[in-house]
Symmetry: C2
Subunit: 334 residues, 2 copies
């Protein structure tokens, strides 16, 4: 590959912007010579942060944007009105071909809306899903869809399965990944109307490794590489994952402080437990790709630190080099 | 109350039947003089177990049933064909008024089907939900519906909210319990069609303490006393709860064994962590009531031990004494 892979980054998005975002961009550029980052946001603030680091000046560009879209704004209205918002300006760079990908830790709503309205879907893609990578006992799985596409149709879920397979193979590097659909039981006749209607379509689909239903209980055990569901269910799964994990880890912490005896024990086990908890923290796995668009969009979580942004930016290399957009376009037609 | 509260128990249901079921029945009868248990199942086997204990002979009766419905059978067919199955015979006792309630650790499908077909719904109840009590940081919440009623309508969810409120107040003893509907965001316009259509109906509902949407993340934190959702979502929540908890606790165990240092620490913290895990184990909270039927049905989990069966049987006292069936009948009409 001769040309640089250009990643537009919303420098103003997330709780730790712009400092951690800029730091992550510098780290990515220093780690891979294949990458060029375009930092979009308040020029003075971004340049102030950049001044702290040394890096290849040719491979970080700053594009000024005077506005910011927050989590409290209505995404559709905000994207339409705030033409000079960092997320809007950055996504337009992808649309015009000035960037290959877009990374943001800002408003999820604005990223989802912008992806559809500003970047646009690949021809033939009915809906563009958001697909976070979630931790499991066996590593990670892709949970597709967790976006804003509620009330999906069977054909949407089939496209999610195809796009998820292409992403998992080409970006995460999982060969012939398994695909399962979230259901309330393993028996064929179980499930709601959507699942029952989708099941035969997934079975017929030649370009995926479909293994049938998955009960939610099996997701944390790594029951399938790609977990297909409509977005309402996906959001419930993603958020309950976080909720149960944080509640349980909080309880463990409390328990370790509950008596003199446990406090002594805690001195011996604290570090190991902390590492374990970190491993199970979904934020460790970089962001969630929004698939099916004319360019990669990666949404990193709102509390992203430099390392999260760095991982998201570096993921764009495999995405572009393996031509995921081209592959999606090809498989969607079938 | 002069008369005994009669509870029909499926003596053959669950992994530990009949031994643990019979033991639980004896414990319940020995704990409360208000209770009479009718053990339904293989007479010889049940009487063999009963012979091990001393108890008030007037308050445990054995009714013979020659068949068993397993988890592997199709529930509708099994309930129709196996007229002498323990779960069928026991539920018929509720229908005829020979028992006030039915407790089973057997096939959930057979309990749900039998509840509808054999016991029957209270007049006006559109669907009978299964409502497990789940552990939270603040105690417990009622998750309603986790049954077999997929593709629910808004009016069903409103009835679930009312029935859940009555159960929580009268059986669990929570005063003026809060009700929330599972959603993907707190904003009013969010949610799928079902949630958006149900929301205004729940707001208008005078006999519940409705507090709006709840995101799945807040469920383990105890965000509401009664969590309303349709059964597909409910099943996903219930099973993911179990899956994430067991995965994480397994990881904690593994971590404690990972080095000499952690093994030493484990000696100090093991017991406290075990108690914590037990507290978070939903099986500790007794079974899941199936509401809206002409009599109480409580489904205990398949691996129930005597103490679980004991708790389920004792719960029937408050249910009958506080006339939950009468109250549901009254509130459903409104």
């Amino acid at each position: 590959m001769d040309r640089l892979i250009k990643v537009a980054v919303d420098a103003m998005g997330g709780d730790n912007a712009p400092a951690e975002i800029v730091k992550g961009a510098v780290e990515a550029v220093n780690e891979s010579t294949k990458i060029k980052v375009i930092l979009v946001g308040d020029e003075a603030a971004v340049k102030g942060e950049l001044a702290k680091y040394s890096y290849d000046k040719e491979r970080i560009e700053v594009v000024h944007a005077s506005e910011i879209i927050t989590n409290n704004e209505h995404p559709v209205e905000a994207v339409r009105k705030k033409k000079d918002a960092s997320t809007v300006v950055a996504q337009k760079l992808v649309r015009t071909g000035d960037a290959d990908a877009f990374v943001s830790a800002g408003s999820t709503g604005a990223v989802l809306v912008g992806g559809q309205l500003l970047i646009g879907k690949i021809k033939g893609v009915e809906r563009a899903p958001l697909a976070p990578v979630i931790p499991t006992e066996k590593g990670v799985s892709l949970l597709i869809d967790c976006g804003a596409n509620v009330d999906a149709r069977p054909s949407h879920l089939v496209q999610f399965a195809k796009m998820g397979t292409i992403y998992m193979e080409n970006v995460i590097g999982r060969k012939n990944p398994t695909v399962a659909i979230v259901n309330v039981g393993a028996e064929e006749e179980k499930g709601n109307q959507l699942v029952r209607d989708t099941m035969p379509l997934l079975k017929e689909c030649k370009d995926i490794n479909f293994i049938g239903s998955i009960e939610a209980r099996e997701i944390p055990h790594g029951g399938a590489d790609i977990i297909v569901c409509e977005a309402f269910t996906g959001n419930v799964i993603l958020k309950l994952y976080e909720g149960v994990a944080s509640t349980l880890l909080g309880r463990v912490k409390q328990t370790l402080k509950s008596s003199l005896k446990t406090k002594i024990g805690a001195l011996f086990v604290k570090d190991a437990l902390k590492n374990m908890a970190k491993e199970f923290d979904s934020s460790e796995y970089g962001g969630a790709p929004m698939l099916g668009l004319k360019g990669l969009v990666i949404k990193s979580h709102g509390s992203s630190k430099a390392k999260d942004i760095r991982i998201c930016i570096l993921k764009c290399i495999a995405f572009v080099e393996n031509d995921v957009t081209g592959k999606i376009s090809e498989h969607i037609k079938e």
